[in-house]
């Protein structure tokens, strides 16, 4: 009972050998525990959608009620959640699933890839928040061209350099040089090449 899905490549090669197609986005086989947890979450979403839909005003007839399709969608999600739970329980009994599900987050954090993913998520979140909070732009006219340097570049270069340092593991100087070259190049393409405004600047 594998807890993480097989790699996309492994599933695809297997599916080609057997002629069983795993679909456009690859294999979806995960542990019954994960499927049961998904079913519970989907069920909650379905019930939530149904309750919120019932709470909506219906200015005219029931047929044009704004909550009509959302209610049907919520109800169908609830039925699908039941189906997913039934499939999970068919693969493994509830007792066995509960035994292995006492710590759903632990194995992910214990895994080095899981920890790296969490760090990456944190860094991306910090990057997004910082580019929202800090806003400035420096303009330096130099004859026919005005050099512009904004908060976007100021925040992007160190954050991307840090991500490169953590994952690429090259020297700091190389990480900063690559990050600076890439960010300034991209900013130039977006701002000067296509006249698209960048976050936090103009």
């Amino acid at each position: 009972m594998a807890d993480t899905p097989k790699s996309r490549l492994e599933t695809d090669v297997e599916s080609l050998a057997t002629g069983n197609f795993t679909g456009e986005e690859g294999g979806t086989a995960v542990s019954p525990g994960k499927d049961l947890a998904s079913a519970a979450m989907v069920g909650v979403i379905g019930i939530g959608a149904m309750l919120l839909s019932l709470d909506l005003d219906a200015p005219a007839s029931l047929y044009t009620a704004p909550g009509l399709l959302p209610f049907i969608t919520g109800l169908s999600l609830l039925i699908m959640a039941a189906g997913l739970a039934a499939k999970a329980l068919k693969r493994a009994p509830l007792r066995e699933i509960l035994k292995s599900a006492h710590d759903p987050i632990g194995p992910f954090i214990a895994d080095i890839e899981g920890r790296r993913t969490l760090i990456l998520m944190g860094l991306v979140l910090a990057y997004v928040v910082l580019t929202d909070l800090i806003n400035f732009e420096i303009r330096m006219p130099a004859g026919f061209y005005t050099f512009r340097f904004s908060s976007y570049e100021t925040i992007s270069i160190p954050v991307i350099a840090l991500i490169l340092k953590l994952f690429w593991r090259a020297r700091w100087l190389a990480c900063i040089a690559v990050a600076a070259g890439m960010v300034i190049g991209l900013a130039w393409i977006f701002r000067d090449g296509f006249e698209i405004l960048l976050p936090g600047s103009g």
Partner: protein, 495 residues
């Protein structure tokens, strides 16, 4: 007839202008290089480049996106053959067959075959697209609210089935959650705020473009970057252009694969991956015993079958996108987004509301195909150099593009946060085995389904179910198709 000729001539004049050719060349080149890089998929390229297309004029944006689409679908074959890692998932069959050939010193010929097959596949897709658009447009014009609702629901249901393979239920759940997301905002008929929780910013609906960028851009970075880097060993390529006699030998396979690729492309949710896998499987069953013995050990016919199909898929995916406003796959959803951002209304009225744009798209696809052929040959050697770059160097650079792209759509920071949330949600959904394409498709089609269902029910208020089924045969057929899609998913594939 005169109008058609006039439109065709004027669109040809635009498409063949030097600037347009340069734009298309840039798109094709970027697409090939992007597709060739393991981990960077066609959909990711398309999703990220929507942001860049906001700064382009209507025709330039369309030409650029078509170039990227055409180039990136082929690009996956280069790394598949040379380093045994498919650049895009649809290149897996090409990898299985091409890498053994490369190890025998026939990598160049394998790639040349893939290039020629891709060129041919694009042609089949384009010819079928041009042939079927008038008929589909005529049919689409007969659709009323009831039929449009059923069509939208079928699109989401079949996308769920096709994306999730042996677990269609998960594809449908992903689609149905997308439907709920699409309902956020003021409803189109009464203006009642739905699922906004008092936040005014949500009243304006959730744009699917930041979702697309988050789900197919940031999610991929989160999936790929923390993984240990696979070894990449660039190799010498040798002769590239295959002899004509060899291609002629596989003409039948090419035609069959082209048809499979186009038909699969026209089905929402089934993209280049399903097309190349299915075509590869059918070609294996139909191959001569002598050829079948080579299957898996380096068969040129197998490469032709996969590459023709995944490229023919491009033309096929444009068919429902342009005529019904239902994207054939996630990459086509990005094309749809780019078209909508340039105020091009896709769907049954595309010809009347945007005269000539369809011809421009045909010509754009043809130009992109020719450029793809020549650029693919020219870019093989630079690609070998590119493979020596680690993914850990390239993937972090996607992050600022995601932020810039999401912000560029409507210059709103809300969209950037939305992109981030979508990226995290996409990663979690992937870990739990849920496909992402149905969700995006449902966010696109949700408003269409909602509005049309309520209109249809209002019209049918005084009718009995039987009279609706008899009076609306097209709707009845669609209803049966929807029921069959669920039946097939639950009782056959979902067993």
């Amino acid at each position: 007839m005169d109008t058609v000729l006039a439109q065709l001539t004027s669109q040809m004049a635009i498409a063949f202008s030097p600037w347009m050719l340069v734009v298309c060349l840039a798109g094709v080149t970027l697409g090939i290089l992007w597709g060739a890089m393991p981990g960077l998929s066609t959909t990711m390229a398309m999703a990220l480049l929507i942001g860049l297309s906001t700064g382009m004029s209507q025709h330039v944006a369309v030409m650029f996106m078509l170039g990227v689409y055409t180039g990136s679908v082929f690009g996956g074959a280069i790394s598949a053959v040379l380093i045994n890692i498919p650049g895009t998932p649809d290149a897996v069959p090409t990898m299985i067959e091409g890498y053994p050939l490369a190890q025998r010193g026939e990598g160049g010929l394998a790639l040349g075959t893939a290039i020629a097959a891709s060129f041919l596949g694009n042609w089949v897709g384009i010819v079928l697209l041009i042939s079927f658009i008038p008929a589909i447009l005529f049919l689409a014009l007969q659709f009323r609210s009831w039929e449009m609702f059923l069509l939208a629901m079928w699109g989401i249901a079949i996308c769920g089935s096709m994306s999730a393979g042996d677990m269609p239920l998960k594809g449908w759940i992903s689609g149905w959650i997308g439907l709920l997301i699409s309902f956020v905002g003021l409803d189109a008929i009464h203006g009642v705020a739905r699922f906004t929780f008092g936040f005014r910013i949500l009243e304006d609906h959730i744009s699917y473009i930041p979702l697309l960028i988050g789900l197919f851009g940031l999610t991929e970075v989160l999936k790929v970057l923390p993984q240990k880097n696979p070894p990449s060993i660039p190799s010498e390529v040798g002769r590239v252009i295959p002899p004509f006699s060899m291609l002629w030998k596989y003409a039948r396979t090419s035609l069959r694969s082209g048809l499979i690729g186009t038909i699969i492309g026209a089905i929402p949710g089934a993209g280049a991956n399903v097309a190349s896998f299915l075509s590869y499987d059918i070609a294996r069953r139909r191959a001569s015993p002598e050829e079948r013995a080579k299957w898996g050990k380096g068969s040129y016919e197998a490469i032709v079958s996969a590459e023709v199909a995944n490229n023919a898929n491009i033309g096929g995916s444009m068919l429902p996108t342009l005529t019904l406003g239902i994207p054939g796959n996630a990459a086509a959803a990005a094309i749809l987004a780019a078209l909508e951002m340039k105020n091009i209304v896709v769907g049954p009225t595309i010809q009347t509301e945007n005269p000539g744009i369809i011809y421009f798209i045909y010509i754009g696809l043809i130009i992109a195909n020719f450029l793809m052929y020549f650029m693919a040959i020219g870019l093989i050697k630079p690609c070998v150099k590119l493979f020596s770059l680690p993914r850990t160097l390239l993937m972090p650079l996607i992050i600022p593009i995601c932020v810039m792209g999401a912000f560029a759509v409507s210059l709103s920071y809300f969209d950037v946060y939305l992109m981030f949330i979508a990226g995290i949600a996409g990663f979690i959904l992937h870990r739990f085995g849920f496909p992402l394409a149905p969700m995006v498709l449902a966010v696109i089609l949700g408003p269409l389904a909602d509005e049309n269902l309520r209109r249809a029910l209002l019209i049918f208020e005084d009718h009995s179910i039987v009279s609706v089924l008899i009076d609306r045969p097209l709707g009845t057929v669609l209803l049966l198709v929807v029921i069959y899609t669920f039946y097939d998913g639950i009782f056959r594939r979902g067993k």
